[in-house]
Symmetry: none
Subunit: 403 residues, 2 copies
């Protein structure tokens, strides 16, 4: 369990509802010294009202100084320490493009590379071929058949693809086939233990067949596989927290990670915050916990688009009354990590957190949701994995520990 | 040891004195949004002077979001992580009513229940019989004799009692006899290992004899036993911290937990803070560390009595000069947990902490002891188990770590 001391404390007689609203890459930095961040510059009257009634703080996604990817950052928000609950890169990559990784499957990340006449790698990224060029090459590999397993391959981006072998009881403790240097031939897939031998053999079979198909390519005439992994068998929300949980997200990766922790992934139309809140409303009665994910804050941060990020935050705030009308007992609004506009990338900075509760909140003095106020907020600066216990506590879902 | 990295650093050539003054359930919430807490509303000139000269902060008793019982919360203040140093519920229950649990003894919590004609439980709490009704029933069980052990049984509250078997080398790793459901008969006490078999047999013997005595009762005609446990053999203050420590407390539970960590429990007359400070004065010369416990702050919080809790805090403040006249080198004033008046119960919120030191305190800007200032205080928000190392440090009782 992510926090196993909680399990004996879980109450089954409580019907309170919790919302976790994540704006991806929410936190940021000012562009000019002394200036405002996007969140501070945005007009957010609804969030500010929640801030005034609730408390602010900050979360540290992985460890201080560590910049997280969105997968691990979400695991942390869900209460699973990413250093303890390891999810293979291949699994994350597959989930990120909407491929399923079920128990018994093994997923891997694939790279096209350029091989010389002796079969040695001359370019580990196949000259960084474009997505347009790579996509049909990946499609040409979809016809590969294996004995005792099904192979599913999909293009990711540029020279990258994802490969999932589906079979019975396959295990993915397998060494990368990427030798990490030019001038060496791709390595065979070698199992780290006997349980993974069958999968390693199948990956080698698949690679050999793919090699023959790729032979006619000029640049992408070879491939390597990395980050082999299986379903990490994470404890599920129902068991860890006693919560029936649902995920409302547009992007595949967030849907995939939510599925790994046992959330029910909701199908809905539209992509706007208002559409997501309508989806939350449609499944409200059947769930105790609703995770809602907004992606565009992160995209705007990565594009270095200050005004764009402000606008996304404001669009969430404008739609928020529809969510609040559902009368959640507890709502947390936060990010999974920071994506500061001046950095145009994810960062390690602590992430702004707003915690509102219909009951028993320790309201601090801050009345506007923003990085500077969060740094002084009444919740303090917490590991992201502490958020779930706090949400459960405010929702009255935990018994007292000891007498 | 609770913090074993400290042991090699302990100085034996220091004679400084430390006071830990705990007002039970001290922390709270305002009754009205934007209002003051009891601690903030109370007139506390002496504490405020200490706050001005010292620093404020907050402690997290167990883990964020976890509401502690007073037993585990005190263990944490004493530096023993309650998730690591487990004290059985039976032991806590026995200590709470002033029964001793010595090495070799086994303690259990007992419930009266109602059995039907087939010996199956029809009411797990014997119709929640009153204390008045239950007390003489418990007394009727005091005559039970066992071979090879002495049984001591005492009433706790309503349908609950505590049972301690005293013998040679008894071990308490025994399954509950409460089947947790109505319609099933009480289970026999089953040992989890061979060392606990003797005690399990004795508990079954005691239960059989008790059953015969209870047969004539209408509602309390059966019993179950839970939370079996022995002396947890906690490291003692002298070994863990190099401190001769004394406990000044009125209520049995706090005296019991203090005894578990090797404190000398002081006998004294009276119950008021002034009486407790006089008791501290009487043993001042012979101790390095004095723990003083004030109970009524918690009781008033549980009663939802705002004015009453304010008054208890003020009575402590008024008596405080007598304690300060002893010239402690370091004094911490805090609670074991919060008991907010609007909740009428313990809560998970971080606990206000005031740390004053005659020397080397980092004084923050806050001049009044209260929750909002503590949330912004110079000590930050710390696990409660960090308090003891800080007290030792301020008292000059720790050597440098490494060169």
């Amino acid at each position: 369990m992510p926090a196993d001391y909680l399990v004996p404390l879980l109450r089954s007689d409580v019907t309170t509802k919790i919302v976790l609203l994540v704006m991806d890459g929410l936190g940021g930095l000012p562009v000019e010294p002394g200036g405002l961040t996007c969140l501070e510059a945005a007009a957010t009257p609804s969030m500010d009202r929640l801030a005034a009634e609730g408390a602010l703080g900050r979360t540290v996604p992985i460890r201080p100084g560590v910049t997280p990817g969105s997968g691990p950052a979400h695991l942390a928000l869900f209460g699973y320490d990413p250093l303890q609950f390891l999810v293979g890169r291949g699994v994350m990559e597959a989930l990120g493009i909407g491929m399923r990784v079920s128990p018994g499957d093994v997923a891997a990340r694939g790279n096209f590379c350029t091989l010389d006449a002796q079969g040695r790698i001359s370019d580990r990224r196949a000259g960084r071929i474009s997505s347009e060029e790579a996509k049909p090459i990946v499609e040409s590999l979809q016809s590969i058949k294996l004995e005792g397993a099904k192979a599913e391959v999909r293009h990711v981006k540029e020279y990258r693809f994802a490969l999932v072998l589906r079979g019975a009881g396959l295990k993915g403790e397998i060494e990368d086939t990427d030798p990490q240097v030019s001038g060496a031939a791709p390595l065979p897939a070698v199992a780290r233990n006997s349980a993974s031998r069958k999968a390693a053999r199948l990956f080698n079979q698949w690679t050999a067949k793919a090699q023959r198909i790729l032979a006619k390519q000029a640049r992408a005439n070879g491939l390597t596989l990395r980050g082999f992994g299986s379903d990490p068998k994470l404890p599920k929300y129902q068991d860890a927290y006693g919560l029936r949980a649902a995920c409302v997200a547009v992007y595949p990766m967030y849907r995939g990670v939510s599925q790994l922790v046992g959330m029910d992934v909701i199908q809905f139309n539209g992509e706007a915050p208002a559409d997501e809140f309508a989806a939350a409303s449609s499944i409200w009665a059947d769930n105790d916990f609703v995770f809602i994910h907004v992606k565009k804050t992160d995209s705007m941060g990565e594009d270095g688009n200050f005004a764009g990020k402000v606008k996304v935050i404001e669009s969430v705030d404008q739609a928020l009354p529809a969510l609040l009308a559902l009368k959640p007992d507890v709502i947390a609004i936060t990010g999974d990590h920071c994506t500061p506009v001046p950095m145009r990338s994810h960062s390690w900075h602590p992430v702004p957190l707003l915690l509102w509760s219909a009951k028993n909140a320790f309201a601090d003095e801050h009345k506007k949701f923003g990085e500077s106020n969060c740094a002084k907020g009444g919740l303090g600066t917490l590991p992201a994995t502490d958020l779930m216990p706090l949400l459960l506590a405010h929702a009255g879902r935990l018994e007292k520990f000891g007498a």
